[in-house]
């Protein structure tokens, strides 16, 4: 990585983040003790483990707050690996002067969400730093759960002919945050932040289930680019099949953003074997969180290999690349 210092772009998901993470992981990889690059890692004994830091600003947003987000983010990373949300550890780093009641409020949100999905708080740590040490409060979650699938879900399972499913309309979390940040009032826009375990449970037994990913920073587009790159295959999407609500579309139109790259926090991408897709969608739609679940594309062999392409609404075709850097509002 040639550019120093670290910028916000390095943390926004997409290609710049991916490069930065590789850079940071060099020390572990060269010793052969580096991690799996999936949302949660499989560890011996039939468990999966994940860790996630939460720095969202604003800390309260339409549809949730940082406490709710911490639990959902960690639980969803486990869920897409087929692991139940069993145990959570939380680390709080708090800036001196931050209202204690507000911190307790976020813990209340986190506890409520844990209660709803059967997750227990097993470990925790709290640190206070001087003013300026962090902006308000940072919450980090580490979660562990037992894998419930007959075999390990992984992007290495993806094959030519597989179908790609998305569980809900895309980009709602990113759009809700952007609306707050750029002072736009958007009727009916809420983050999609929600725990996916109950919705995904019914399909875990499917023989044709290849792998799943939690679409977070960088959105659906980033996840699919990572799958295409990892598998060396070509993922072809249908623009008209991708569920997108009016709120997210309008916000993206006004700010000049691409919905494919807007963050989600309650949306999974799923790859399944040919023939299993309709059944999987039908089962997903039983959940109120996944009523818009849909097949959005297929995995093909041939060119462009390792890339994602989109058949557009007007019948044309173009590539989908990973986003680069922070999404910034455009006037051009």
């Amino acid at each position: 990585m040639t550019d120093n210092p670290v910028t916000l772009g390095h943390g926004s998901g997409g290609r710049q983040s991916a490069d930065f993470v590789s850079f940071l992981l060099e020390s572990f990889r060269k010793r052969g003790i580096g991690p799996e690059m999936e949302d949660a890692a499989v560890i011996p004994g039939g468990y999966a483990i994940t860790v996630d830091g939460f720095t969202v600003s604003p800390r309260k947003f339409p549809g949730g707050d940082i406490g709710h987000l911490c639990v959902c983010g960690c639980a969803n990373d486990l869920a897409v690996r087929g692991a139940s949300p069993d145990f959570l550890g939380i680390s709080l780093v708090i800036e001196e002067g931050f209202p204690a009641d507000e911190a307790a409020g976020y813990m209340e949100s986190a506890a409520k969400t844990c209660g709803e999905i059967g997750m227990s708080l097993a470990a925790g740590d709290t640190k206070v730093v001087p003013v300026g040490g962090v902006e308000g409060l940072i919450m980090t979650g580490c979660a562990v759960g037992r894998i419930q699938t007959p075999s390990i879900l992984s992007s290495s399972n993806i094959r030519e002919g597989d179908s790609i499913i998305v569980t809900t309309s895309i980009g709602r979390h990113g759009a809700a945050i952007a609306a707050s940040r750029f002072n736009l009032s958007v009727d009916g826009l809420e983050s999609d932040c929600a725990p996916l375990w109950p919705a995904l449970q019914p399909i875990l037994g499917e023989k044709g289930l290849r792998c799943m990913r939690d679409c977070t920073r960088g959105g659906l587009g980033t996840v699919l680019c990572e799958w295409a790159e990892a598998s060396g295959l070509h993922i072809s999407l249908e623009e008209d099949a991708i569920p997108l609500n009016l709120q997210v579309k309008s916000l993206c139109d006004v700010l000049g953003f691409d919905p494919l790259y807007m963050a989600c926090e309650g949306c999974a991408a799923i790859a399944v074997a040919p023939g299993c897709a309709e059944d999987a969608v039908r089962q997903l739609r039983q959940s109120p969180l996944c009523t818009e679940a849909a097949v959005i594309g297929r995995v093909l062999a041939g060119e462009p290999s390792g890339m994602v392409s989109l058949r557009t609404s007007i019948g044309g075709e173009r590539l989908v690349d990973m986003p680069f850097g922070e999404l910034l509002p455009r006037i051009c």
């Binding site: 710049q16 000049g256 890339m307 007007i314 590539l319 690349d321 910034l328």
Partner: protein, 355 residues
């Protein structure tokens, strides 16, 4: 009703019989064309060339350097998001923010006034970037700042004018251009007349189009129709938004606030009478006067061929730096940085050697 985008694309493939190079001037057209997949629907007879209508791409390094020096003097610099990552030798507004300087993003020109009012003890500078679509907003900002006596606000104007650049390209026989797809929203402001020289003086079809795929395809079809008939004209398929006389109020605001000067276009060089600077009446709000800045044209990095890209002489795959040394992660020139720069668009949306 005219047909859908699909029907228009099909029609275009049937009516285009002889080879034709069309320049689409506007960066927003470049992006819309790529994102909608229009390139994949065009007949092999049509060659679409991207022009210099990306105001971010043509902002000279010297201009960004001036903005950075204002940051270093302690000013708050407010800019549209498009400019944030464009580099000059000393970095970009984004990298300077990482170093602790106060650069901020505006989604509208009046955001700069709000920042100035909220920070009366700081100097706040607004970066006026963009063509004739965007300059009127800056004009209103300046007039309101003057009316309300907001003395800590000033404007660094890099606004440029589209017709002079288009004229230079139309004059160049080496480009082999057979028609122009004209920028819809610049035309909302200017009307038809400023581009009438294209058919009038150069015998080139010129069609004003909006930015939805059906608009772009209809505009291209009209260019092809003129080309096949041999009768060039200035016409518009965007009558919903573009009045032949343009937006008189916006043009009057430009007249009141700005005066025309020569401007250096990154990659192209100096184009006479192509830039807008604050007029004498508003000199007090001109950041160049307030901070004693002299703009000096920057030197392109070695090997950078953005100039040839911006004038449609080569396509990105023909630049040796494309995808090798010059990528969105490490852009050498502005065509790669800007979300609507030709190279950025090719990199993100397109694979293959054909233009």
């Amino acid at each position: 009703m005219p047909g859908s985008a699909r029907e228009t694309a099909a029609l275009l493939r049937r009516i285009s019989r002889t080879p034709l190079s069309v320049m689409e001037v506007c960066g927003t057209h470049t992006v819309s064309i790529f994102r909608s997949g229009i390139r994949s629907l065009l007949p092999p007879t049509i060659r679409l060339v991207s022009g210099p209508g990306c105001p971010v791409c043509v902002t000279d390094q010297g201009e960004i350097d001036a903005a950075i020096s204002l940051l270093e003097k302690g000013a708050v610099v407010v800019s549209y998001g498009d400019m944030f990552r464009v580099p000059c030798g000393r970095g970009s507004l984004s990298s300077k923010r990482a170093e602790g300087y106060d650069s901020r993003i505006a989604s509208g020109a009046m955001d700069a006034l709000a920042v100035a009012l909220e920070n009366p003890e700081r100097e706040v500078v607004f970066l006026g970037v963009g063509f004739e679509t965007t300059a009127p907003a800056t004009a209103v900002l300046v007039e309101e700042a003057a009316r309300r006596n907001v003395c800590n606000l000033s404007v660094l104007s890099f606004h440029k004018m589209t017709p002079p650049a288009v004229r230079i390209l139309a004059q160049d026989p080496g480009l082999g251009l057979g028609g122009f797809l004209l920028p819809g929203h610049v035309s909302v402001i200017l009307g038809h007349e400023p581009f009438a020289f294209l058919p009038g003086q150069f015998g080139l079809p010129a069609v004003i189009a909006g930015f939805e795929p059906d608009q772009i395809l209809l505009g291209l079809a009209e260019i092809v129709r003129q080309h096949e008939s041999g009768i060039p004209a200035l016409s518009s398929v965007y009558g919903r938004a573009v009045r032949p006389e343009g937006n008189l109020k916006a043009k009057a605001a430009l007249e009141r606030v700005f005066e025309v000067r020569d401007a250096s276009w990154r990659g192209i060089g100096v184009i006479p009478a192509s830039g807008l600077t604050l007029g004498k009446k508003y000199r007090a709000f001109d950041a160049e006067a307030r901070f004693g800045i002299t703009l000096s044209p920057g030197v392109p990095p070695p090997g950078c061929r953005c100039g040839e890209i911006l004038t449609g002489r080569i396509t990105p795959p023909e630049c040796p730096l494309f995808r090798t040394k010059c990528t969105p992660a490490s852009p050498v020139g502005p065509c790669m940085v800007s979300s609507e720069g030709t190279c950025g668009a090719y990199f993100r949306f397109f694979k293959g050697d054909q233009s």
